[in-house]
Amino acid sequence: MPARAEAIVIGGSAGALDALQTILPSLPRGFALPIVVVLHMLPGRPSGLASVLGGNSALSVKEAEDKEAMSAGTVYLASPGYHLLVEKDRHFALSVDEPVHFSRPSIDVLFESAADAFGKELVGVLLSGANEDGARGLFDIRQAGGVTIVQAPQTAAAPPMPEAALRLGAAAHVLGLVAIGELLRALAGGHFPPGSAVEKVSG
């Protein structure tokens, strides 16, 4: 029996903004979990992402700040140019360490630290994207006993990121966007549907 989920982490790059604009509006006000998002964005551009995503969502959307505690029902975005990590005491930490997979923020960095902090109480979601960042981190979440969800590659604008996760055996659930929203609502309500379990954890 899995532990109750305490947080959701989501990563993606090309095509993931559109995917989030399907998933986030499907989550109700008062959603029981914090959601932490890393999207690869062009560096150096002011990020209007919080207002774009917040405009369509019942949840409050903001950039995560260093040492900030997580609250349920809030969507936290990684700031451009900074890695976003989760500490064991479940506060955020930022870093300007070197990019991972040419990306800062990197999805792997968020996922690995969150897997370490939350163990099996974590839900990881990897969306559309054009590189392999996030696959390894999602695998770590699965190894730690968390629930892992990958956007079905045939529904992704850019399949390489979900495909990399499938190759690693990181996915417990492979779903389209509407089904991802449904599963997140179920997990927030304490329900754990059995995984579609196409992939077996290896290594």
């Binding site: 260093d66 990590l85 630290s113 690693l168």
Partner: protein, 277 residues
Amino acid sequence: MDAQVTPTPFADVELAHFLDALFERYHYDFRRYAGASLKRRVASALVHFGEDELPTFERRVLEDPAAFAELLRFLTVQVSDLFRDPPYFRAVRERVVPVLATYPSLKIWVAGCATGEEAYSLAILLAEEGLLARTQIYATDIHPESLRTAAAGVYALERFARFSENYLQAGGRASLSDYYTADYSAAVLDGSLRKAILFADHSLATDSVFAEMQFISCRNVLIYFDRDLQNHALGVLESSLCRRGFLGLGLKESLRFTTHANAFREFAPDERLYQRL
């Protein structure tokens, strides 16, 4: 790809033991650094050194100061740019400099200067505003190799296209090329800038106040500390500032979650410039 997949190679208790041992042996204190990124850095050091297990690596580092010196690079080094985050330097120029100009002499501290880019950026800015001649800049770090790089003032030429772009966005009044001499692959910053900066070893974790400053710039340093160490370091910074002195932080850092928020007012909130009350 599967070969890269390894579980976290060490337990928290092994990491704590390792950090204790480093402090005992070498007096570098990483025990109150923010855990998540420190863990990543130690893990990548293990890969670099070809070690599988932290306890084995610990014995090697304790026996071999050269290995420790190499490890320090993984634990400390930050790469920065000249005029990184141009809006910060623009705000320093337009809002802080007019106040600094009222002092007969100035002490400015770049705390956690890494390889020196920020200290040189401030030196250039102060030169253009006519203040450099009466300013002593202190630039400190815990990493000896970074301090040597910083004091040399030599950077790869390929980085200067971005540096120049930053400089102009930061409100530079001339051309960045006025401040360096280049050969095929590297550029050396002007001697007048290097003379204005004293590079020195100082730890915000274990050392204390050494002078009274009008302005301290400490950017993207505190994010690597846990909350206790952040508060401790901010105590050192606060005690090092004169009344109405300025503190500049990284663009994603703030005093909000610290015990020192009430000692400062927000001076340029977006650029994270604070003024001591």
